[in-house]
């Protein structure tokens, strides 16, 4: 059974009651960043019913929304004011930020971590707190809210998120270039990554047959977009949203981050038949037969890369730096000493 609190107070009461030794916070993000096993004694808690846009200040380019607000509903409201939340992701806003499963779509493009100004949250023991502010700039206190991004609800629940917005670009268009050789695709990908303006999203895809394509989105003034399309020979295309890979039975979906300069080495290390997808911001995905996953993850440090098997339950992923791992454990213990948030 899933608990569905409709307010911060209800969530606090639920957590304070101590009737639930383990709680799994449910968010509907773009997709699960990682599959985690559910403890047998876990209670599911969904914040989907907390779905109000509490504040939208177009002149300040900020808004405050509850975690259950759906991305597409927020987008609709923002568009009415000529604004956007300039990051990828679908589902609920809480799930999107908790998962952060895509990161920036191009160098310098915003990722969820750049757009979260502050939040109100509840610790596993029901303690309410806030961090950050609702204005675009504040350095008062420690940025505890940054820990929420990508935490998958394992540190605390967010009950109100203060977000930074951006004006909608004057013009935008999707592009797609198919049937490229790997060399051509990499060259064009690198060139688009180096553009200081106008490239909001760029994605490189090598399919299982070795054919490559580039897709993405340009945004800005129409004159500049036209210039970019000409310079990079980019054909306008229908916007299919961010491309995704999927794993079939016996295979695992792997996601990671890698520097562009190490991309060739990483690709050479993958089986030729492994599909590969990478966003300009450094996030990549590939699909491998299950037996090949662990060896690849162990080789990631040689590529200065980090990765995790998305679809394998409780995959440890590439080993983190020991000091960072110790800090992660210490932070989890500090915020949830009883280990309630499973």
């Amino acid at each position: 059974m899933t608990q569905r609190p409709t307010s911060r107070a209800e969530l606090q009461d639920l957590l304070r009651s101590r009737r639930h030794p383990r709680v799994r916070l449910l968010g509907s993000g773009s997709r699960p960043a990682m599959v985690r096993r559910v403890p047998s004694d876990a209670t599911f808690v969904s914040l989907a019913a907390m779905d109000r846009i509490e504040r939208l200040e177009p002149g300040d380019l900020t808004c405050s929304v509850q975690p259950g607000v759906l991305r597409h509903e927020l987008d609709l409201e923002l568009r009415r004011h000529g604004l956007e939340l300039p990051c990828a992701g679908t589902g609920t806003i809480g799930g999107l930020f908790a998962a952060d499963d895509i990161g920036p779509l191009a160098p310098g493009a915003p990722a969820p971590r750049n757009l979260l100004l502050g939040l109100e949250g509840v610790l596993a023991d029901g303690t309410p707190f806030k961090s950050g502010a609702r204005v675009v700039k504040s350095v008062a206190g420690f940025d505890v809210h940054k820990l929420f991004v990508g935490s998958q609800g394992r540190l605390f629940a967010a009950t109100l998120l203060h977000l930074k917005l951006r004006p909608l670009p004057r013009a935008s268009c999707a592009f797609g270039v198919r049937n490229l050789s790997l060399a051509d695709a990499l060259a064009k990908f690198a060139g688009l990554r180096q553009e200081p303006a106008g490239v909001h999203q760029v994605t490189l895809l090598r399919d299982a047959a070795g054919a490559c394509m580039l897709a993405g989105r340009l945004g800005g003034r129409a004159s500049h977009l036209a210039a970019l399309r000409t310079r990079f020979s980019l054909a306008e295309s229908a916007d299919a949203g961010p491309l995704q890979l999927h794993a079939e039975a016996g295979h695992e979906l792997i996601t990671g981050i890698v520097c562009c300069s190490r991309l060739n080495g990483l690709l050479a290390d993958l089986p030729a038949a492994a599909p590969f997808l990478m966003h300009g911001g450094g996030r990549f995905w590939t699909v491998l037969p299950t037996p090949q996953v662990a060896p690849l993850l162990s080789r990631m440090p040689t590529h200065d890369a980090h990765a995790v098997a998305v679809s394998a339950a409780d995959s440890p992923g590439t080993a983190l730096d020991p000091g960072a791992a110790t800090l992660t454990t210490a932070i989890r213990h500090a915020l949830d000493p009883r280990g309630v948030l499973a």
Binding site: M34, E57, P58, G59, D60, D100, D101, G108, F129, K130, S131, A133, R134, V135, V136, K137, S138, V139, A140, G141, F142, D143, K146, L147, V149, G150, L155, P167, L168, A190, R193, Q194, E195, P196, A197, G220, R221, S223, H224, I257, C259, C260, S261, G282, R283, D304, H306, S315, G317, D321, G323, A324, T326, L327, T328, A330, I331, H333, A334, L335
Partner: protein, 492 residues
């Protein structure tokens, strides 16, 4: 308090050599404060490491001896962050000033903490790259200090703050162990927490960064600076709102008030600003040349709709430098107004700028203090500056009292007590005005995860546990600082 500490000094000298361990009282005076000169305190010693290994050895020694320590960059902080709150050893990182690695393909650099902000841009400009965060002190402040404070600057409106450009860091934790937060490819691996995000802005209380990975930005093809002078501050602020409402995202939106304009024009930073103007608005736009042309035309139209006294436009580096000279030199120019300057750093929602400025002026009048305003209008980040004579106790007290009321106005309007200068020791008590005890308790828990011994820069950012009681009795803490300041007036 300042008794010699021969045993510890000997051991520090064993690590670094005598030339890099400073304990003489006269020499220590150089480290008694940062840009927040109200709070002064001599460190027990200053050490000058040159490598991660040396920092680690120092911290291990101090941790073993239970001696507090404070990391410090160039000392340009404006909130007392690197000024010891208890007798402590200052670990000065200015000698760690090498750019270790630059990767143009990856748009990243790895630097030591003592690299000066502007020097990083100078080191990569031949590659068509720059480091975007540009605090006003960028010609002297260090990347390590920027990381500690999550520094901002005029170009935050478009490009964000230090945290938005930080990929990771190698950190000596307060127990002397090492941790690598983030990585070259990005601040957060898919299965990791955003440790760089929470470390950035921790004001030297979470550990000491000895290698910092930062994102570089590709230079724009064209940059243009526009100036509009207005007869009223309201018109200048409304123009900022017009620009944002039009969907434009300039690189910078800065305003100087008349008192600042006059101080600048009477100084070596003279930029040719009209002294009869109530406010000057500087707008910088960058991007492809054609885009900049289009946006400049649009912005000129928005200027004209608010009946400016004058419009100027600068395209060449020399012209742009002139227009920026007054803004960049504004704080220096205020040295003409009195012996001391208290630089405040509140934030309000951009749409509340006019109301905030009206209320701030009323506060200044009521306290009889000399106030100037120069601020990042695009971010709503105000810098009300109070010029005062620090030798005059009554004037200093009025200054601090006015400052406290100004920050309360920022909070009342839904803002923050600091946009880019940090809490340090200056705003320690004000934290409880912005946050509840449970908020502070959660922050304290995170700090304890990094700094369980509490030895790393103690007494900063978070007030003590009875903060609410302290605030109820405000301004006890500030009075204490002022009393101490006046007792040691002979040092100045």
């Amino acid at each position: 308090m300042f008794a010699p500490m021969p045993a510890l000094e000997r051991r520090l000298t064993d690590l670094l050599g005598a030339a890099r361990v400073i304990t003489a009282r006269d020499a220590l005076l150089a480290w008694e404060c940062d840009g927040f000169t109200v709070h002064r305190a001599l460190p027990r010693a200053v050490v000058l490491p040159e490598s991660t290994a040396e920092v680690q050895a120092i911290v291990q020694l101090l941790h073993g001896e239970n001696v507090p320590f404070v990391p410090r960059g160039a000392g340009t902080c404006l909130s007392g962050g690197p000024t010891p709150s208890v007798p402590a050893v200052v670990i000065e990182l200015a000698r760690m000033k090498r750019v270790l690695h630059v990767s143009p393909d990856d748009l990243l650099a790895v630097v030591q903490p003592g690299v000066v902000n502007l020097d990083l841009t100078l080191a990569v400009q031949h590659l068509g790259l720059h480091y975007a965060p540009d605090p006003s002190s960028q010609s002297v402040c260090t990347i390590g200090g920027n990381l500690a404070e999550n520094s901002g600057g005029p170009h935050c409106f478009k490009y964000g703050m230090t945290t938005d450009h930080m990929l990771g860091a190698v950190v000596v934790l307060p127990d002397g162990s090492l941790a690598r937060l983030g990585q070259n490819a990005g601040p957060r691996a898919p299965h990791a927490l955003d440790l760089p995000g929470v470390f950035c802005g921790s004001e030297g209380t979470f550990g000491i960064a000895t290698e910092i990975m930062v994102r570089l930005s590709r230079d724009q093809e064209s940059v243009r600076t526009l100036l509009a002078a207005f007869a009223t501050m309201t018109a200048a602020c409304r123009t900022v709102g017009d620009i944002v409402a039009a969907g434009l995202v300039p690189a910078a939106l800065e305003i100087l008030d008349q008192a600042t304009i006059r101080a600048v024009e009477a100084s070596v930073y003279r930029a040719g600003y009209p002294e009869d103007a109530a406010a000057v608005l500087l707008v910088e736009i960058d991007g492809p040349r054609q885009v900049v042309d289009e946006e400049a035309a649009e912005i000129r139209g928005l200027f004209l709709a608010r009946s400016p006294l004058r419009i100027e436009e600068a395209s060449t580096p020399a012209e742009r430098k002139r227009l920026w000279k007054g803004r960049k030199g504004a704080f220096g120019a205020m040295g003409r107004l009195n012996t001391d300057l208290y630089v405040l750093d509140g934030v309000v929602p951009r749409t509340r700028l006019v109301e905030a400025l009206d209320r701030i002026h009323a506060i200044a009048e009521r306290h009889g203090v000399l106030l100037t305003n120069v601020f990042h209008a695009g971010d709503g980040n105000l810098h009300p500056n109070i010029s005062y004579d620090g030798r005059d106790a009554a004037q200093t007290a009025r200054t601090v009292a006015a400052g406290r009321e100004i920050l309360q106005v920022c909070l009342d309007l839904g803002g923050s007590i600091t946009g880019e200068h940090g809490i340090g020791s200056e705003k320690l008590d004000y934290m409880a005005l912005m946050y509840d005890p449970t908020d502070l308790e959660v922050m304290a828990r995170v700090r304890t995860a990094f700094n369980p011994s509490g030895l790393c820069n103690p007494g900063k950012v978070l007030p003590t546990r009875n903060a609410c009681a302290e605030v109820a009795k405000w301004p006890k803490m500030v009075e204490r600082v002022l009393d101490d300041h006046q007792r040691r007036g002979g040092d100045r």
